[in-house]
């Protein structure tokens, strides 16, 4: 596999009023690679995902997907070019059925990818295809969110705390599916608080604090890094 990064983020800045939520973030993702994105609450993880996916507009910096600069594109264009995401709080189309949820994405896909039925089976929701999405439980809604993103056949998938609130067997399923997505060549950026879950997906993590990267490297080395420990546990540890 080539090592030309599929996603290249440089000097990304996002301000909310006087607060710099992202303060010059750099990030590279290679095809098929899984990178964990960790950091304390408010460190800018979700903001990073929102900016990269086009939900927020960056104040400075560049975001390149392959050869394309996508930093100024609206989210539906970003999705069409092959970058997709899931949401921390799942956001299904509540009044549509599970199948229709995926049909919406399938109708607007711009890249060859899985069909609706295939995606439903992949995320283990085929038996609930005709249920109204608003009646699903949180775990099922998270899987539906993942299915909706996969139908768009992303080259880069940003996963925002998919594991939070899931039980052990659901975590196992989600970890397995994410691994298979990565093995098929999609680059994954996984925001996660559950280190055990993250450890099953990747060794490579990026640690954010106050909108800036403070560590990039091996998960085990991160746990031994003095600055990382301080940020997570406070000084004196």
């Amino acid at each position: 596999m080539s090592c030309e990064p599929i996603l290249r983020v440089r000097d990304l800045v996002k301000r909310f009023g006087g607060f710099r939520a992202l303060d010059g973030v750099d990030l590279d993702l290679n095809p098929g690679e899984v990178v964990g994105l960790v950091g304390p609450n408010g460190s800018g993880k979700t903001t990073l995902i929102n900016v990269v996916s086009g939900i927020y507009r960056a104040d400075a910096g560049s975001i390149r997907l392959g050869e394309r600069e996508i930093g100024k594109l609206p989210p539906h264009r970003v999705a069409a070019l092959g970058l997709n995401r899931t949401f921390q709080v799942p956001k299904p189309f509540r009044s549509l059925t599970v199948r229709q949820n995926l049909e919406v994405a399938w109708r607007h896909r711009r890249r060859p990818g899985p069909g609706v039925r295939e995606a439903l089976e992949f995320v283990d929701l085929a038996s609930l295809a005709e249920r109204e999405a608003g009646t699903l439980n949180t775990a099922q809604q998270k899987l539906l969110d993942l299915g909706r993103a996969l139908v768009a056949a992303p080259q880069v998938l940003l996963v925002d705390e998919l594991g939070a609130g899931l039980g052990p067997s659901e975590l196992e399923l989600v970890a397995d599916r994410l691994r298979r997505v990565a093995e098929a060549g999609t680059a994954l950026l996984v925001v996660e608080h559950l280190m055990g879950f993250l450890g099953r997906l990747t060794r490579r993590v990026v640690v954010l604090n106050a909108g800036a990267q403070i560590f990039a490297g091996d998960l085990a080395a991160a746990a031994a890094d003095r600055q990382v420990v301080e940020v997570f546990l406070g000084e004196g540890h």
């Binding site: 996916s53 956001k91 299904p92 009044s95 919406v104 109708r107 909706r148």
Partner: protein
Amino acid sequence: MPRVWSGAAVLVVVLALCLVLPQLYANQFLFFDLMVYLALAQGVNILYGFTGYLPFGYVGFFGTGAYGMSLAVLKLHLPPVPAVLAGGVAAVVLGLVLAPLLRLSGAYFAIASLAASQAVYYVVANPSLTGVTRGPYGISLARVYHPSQSYLVMVGVLGLTLAAVLYLRRSRRGMVLQAIRDDPQSAAMAGVNVVRERVLAWLASALIAGLVGGVFAWQISVFYPATVFDLSTSIMAIVFTLFGGTGTLLGPVLGVTVLFGLYNVIGVSEPQYFQLIYGALIVLLVLFLPGGAASLLKRRGIDVL
């Protein structure tokens, strides 16, 4: 597909009733007004039921259509039917001008659309524009007055409106609009051009109000700015829609039939009670039955079109 047929059946029955009832009960004005509200309620339905924007200033498009039609007759000397189309076009143009309002959401949008409709009203009614709009002195279309023709054209406009809602109920475009209403961010990540779809729904709903306003002007033929920019027109259309159930074809039809009927029984003889009842209804609906009367049927497992 049987569901498409049942939708077409609803459409045919409503239109047939509108044609036949005036022969049985000779009050054409009552049935004309009924059709005006049936169409306006569906126009509100297209915007609110399928995108979640509540247009309190919806009457602005209605008034613009009425004036667009009248000016096409008086200034351009168009025959009435093309003039009605011109009224629809005028409303669409206003819709384009006001499209940036869609950046707002919830109550902010409702209030801004209300303010916009009042702004249009004050421009039209301005004495300085008497040479163009006849300002506060109103319009007379006596030259083209032809109530039986305008009644038939109104049936046509209503048919068009019901067909548009049926299309949205049954088509993928309607599904996409519903997706946007449920969650615009998710819809964008599903590849939907959220802004474009919303603007199209907004313009479709403006077109309907414009056409209805145009036929209304033709039907009554003499009116003042306050007649066609009356806020209670917006409010009635919204209440009818909410009462019946948004996002469905039958809901607004049901809402208009029941509440407009009630209006003609109570509202005419005792208007103050009527206002009280409507006010209470809005509050109760929003609190306890946001899905409208149609949702009661839905809860019993009856599929509402």
